[in-house]
Symmetry: C2
Subunit: 186 residues, 2 copies
DNA sequence: TCCTTTATTTAACGTTCGTTATAATAATAG
DNA sequence: CTATTATTATAACGAACGTTAAATAAAGGA
């Protein structure tokens, strides 16, 4: 227990490598070198390169998304979305890299068709979820769906800025932009 | 004349391959096979793999961006931005793939540090340019900078949707979302 | 015509890749 | 103490990679 389980350690290093060099640019040998284990150890814990990559996306990334989506407690709707985005700034390095890798697959910059289908499934759930969250605050708004769509699009860019481009977004900038889109929502 | 044909053909096929498989996933052999020429012909026209990739980004992608940025004629500001985005739908396949590849480098999912610096240079010019375009329409808006920033963020997502995720965005959806952000601009 | 330059191919070099067969070690259980 | 199982390492396989040397073909003046 002093040493982190080797299997986990391999996964962590793999996340870094896939992130920096992409799937094809990542080599099992380099992972092993950084983990400080012999090459076949990676095959001892993972069937092959693809399974290692898949586990990162299917388990780590989607766990992260679900955790992120579940920590809801709403008072003011603008505060809610501001916090939702702002908290991404303080994700652990590992989580940020997993997130980044997930976005990469989501944009089909990496991974394969099978992983893309997982992504599409998730994506379908996004608009309805935010529609539900926002509904109570949309009494005096006529173009409900457009506002939700616009907000989701804006959130996407901010997520990419923080997680993919690894930039810090200050809380007030986030709030300002969200407020522009939600300015008619009480 | 024949020379140019082959050189261009190599570049076109390379764009496809880099797009589909990334830099590391693309092999010179596969490009040659699709071009229907022998392998060393690629080295006859391009010094090496990296130079081929660099030329696509540095020439093709930035040409595209500048062409895109220069076709301005403004009447109504919402019409202007709507058209700006909507026209991306009808880019040629080649241009769309070049654009996609550029975005991939921009998000540092591919390419190297040197190319990223090119991207950063361009990025710095974005906000000022849109500020200038929007300034005349911002008379009765107090939070000018926030509006511009939000708009640029929204545009980015729509660009990614059309060019990276290869989706068709209908004109009215684009107009609706832009209108949300620019609703106080005359 | 011959010669020089351009365009293209065949064949191979050395390297690195993903993956595995095999063996050695450490841990555990009986 | 021994038998068995769980880990780890050494060494190598065949395939594919980026790249180049060398030879050949085509073209175009002189």
């Amino acid at each position: 227990m002093i040493e982190k389980a080797l299997r986990e350690q391999i996964k962590e290093v793999a996340v870094e490598h896939f992130n920096t060099n992409g799937y094809h640019g990542t080599t099992i040998r380099n992972i092993a070198k950084d983990v400080n284990c012999s090459l076949p150890m990676i095959y001892y814990y993972y069937k092959n390169k693809k399974e290692l990559f898949d586990e990162i996306i299917k388990k780590e990334y989607f766990n992260l998304l679900e955790k992120q989506a579940s920590l809801l407690k709403i008072d003011n709707i603008i505060n809610f979305y501001t916090k939702f985005i702002y908290d991404l700034n303080s994700l652990s390095n590992y989580d940020k890299q997993v997130y980044r890798l997930g976005v990469k697959v989501y944009l089909s910059f990496d991974g394969d068709e099978e992983l893309m289908n997982h992504m599409d499934e998730w994506e379908k759930s996004i608009l309805p979820r935010h529609c539900k969250i926002l509904k109570p605050y949309m009494k005096n708004v006529n173009n409900e769906k457009v506002v939700v769509r616009t907000l989701v699009h804006l959130l996407e860019t901010m997520i990419i800025n923080i997680v993919v481009k690894n930039r810090y977004l200050p809380e007030d900038e986030i709030r300002e932009e969200i407020s522009i889109v939600l300015q008619n929502c009480g």
